[in-house]
């Protein structure tokens, strides 16, 4: 009762505020309160785990970080070394000789075994033949054969004519 009276006193002082319905005007994402307990409990569980295990599970030797700092500073300040590829003249000339020898042998063996040259004309002809219809080729071959046969017939007639009209002596005589 006392609480109600106490909470109503201000209404007389502020009639405009009093006329505004008291309600929560903020909203929350869908299912927010359904998941809130679980989210808080998960956070509490993580917190308990953190409390159980020390922050650093790995250790380093004592004074490691001080030594590391000194080493890094020392390495950073020391001048950089120039590495020589050849420490003596003998090694330098031997390397050059080896290089020349290897290069010479390479050239020699390449000359002995010439690369087979590619006959582009043959390849082109094969391609043309491949592209022509098979029947056309068969017809062409048959036509050529007839001409050859007719030519053969003419040749035998000529031989018969020569054998008939000329003697062996005349035929074997040297001119």
């Amino acid at each position: 009762m006392g609480k109600n009276l106490e909470n109503e006193e201000w209404r007389e002082e502020a009639p405009t505020l009093s006329g505004i319905p008291r309600r929560d005007v903020f909203s929350v994402p869908h299912n927010y309160f359904e998941n809130l307990s679980a989210n808080i409990e998960a956070k509490v569980a993580v917190d308990r785990l953190k409390a159980l295990s020390p922050e650093q599970t790995f250790t380093v030797p004592s004074g490691y970080f001080d030594r590391m700092k000194e080493e890094v500073l020392f390495k950073a300040k020391s001048p950089s070394k120039v590495l020589k590829l050849w420490h003596s003249n003998v090694l330098k000339y031997a390397s050059a000789a080896c290089f020349v020898l290897v290069a010479g042998l390479g050239v020699y063996f390449n000359q002995e075994q010439p690369q087979p040259s590619v006959n582009y004309a043959e390849i082109a002809n094969e391609q043309i033949l491949f592209d022509i219809d098979e029947d056309v080729i068969i017809d062409h071959i048959q036509g050529t054969d007839q001409v050859t046969r007719s030519l053969s017939a003419d040749q035998s007639d000529l031989e018969n004519y020569i054998l008939t009209n000329f003697s062996f002596r005349e035929l074997t005589a040297e001119y």
């Binding site: 505004i20 903020f26 409990e41």
Partner: protein, 186 residues
């Protein structure tokens, strides 16, 4: 649904075997009240979500040390209020915001928020509340929205009842004046 008594929660929490159950009961009973209390202070939902979780982690850690000479809910309210005020102060420092611009910054958050479903009058009321200093706003919210008694607010804030009455009276007057000002429209 019958609400579980605070004394039962505390008893269960004192037993290692029923501690998790007790905490679950506590969350069920207080999570929404505490969320809305924080939300009205910090306005932004994501900030309120972070804070409400931090508050209950603190509750979990310190509940064992809780002394029964104060009420459980006023103790949780105190943690939530302190966390929210600390958050707002840090936010001001981080953004280097002058005091008079704090309310306008929170008002912008309010207007831009996708989780505000009030009408023009409600929006104006929220803007009016945001013109109050943080602690006055805290007192106003606990009285106006949560219907808490001055003794309870006194326990939460550690401020005397007389000072709280004066603070609430001033807050109401300021809000009434803001609401009557026709120059402020939305």
């Amino acid at each position: 649904m019958k609400q579980v008594e605070d004394s039962e929660i505390l008893e269960k929490f004192s037993n290692e075997k029923t501690r998790n159950e007790a905490f679950n009961l506590l969350l069920t009973k207080y999570q929404q009240k505490i969320y809305w209390h924080i939300r009205r202070l910090v306005i932004d939902h994501d900030d309120a979500d972070d804070l409400v979780q931090d508050v209950f982690i603190k509750v979990w850690k310190n509940l064992e040390k809780f002394r029964s000479d104060s009420q459980l809910y006023t103790w949780i309210y105190r943690i939530a209020s302190n966390e929210s005020i600390t958050f707002l102060n840090k936010k001001k420092q981080r953004n280097n915001t002058p005091l008079d611009e704090v309310s306008s910054e929170l008002s912008e958050t309010l207007v831009e928020s996708s989780y505000f479903n009030g009408d023009t009058i409600q929006l104006k009321l929220q803007q009016a509340i945001l013109t109050l200093p943080d602690k006055q706003r805290l007192v106003f919210n606990m009285k106006y929205y949560d219907d808490l008694k001055y003794e309870e607010i006194s326990e939460i804030t550690g401020t005397s009842v007389g000072a709280l009455k004066a603070s609430f009276h001033i807050a109401v007057k300021k809000i009434e004046a803001f609401m009557l000002n026709d120059d402020i429209t939305f």
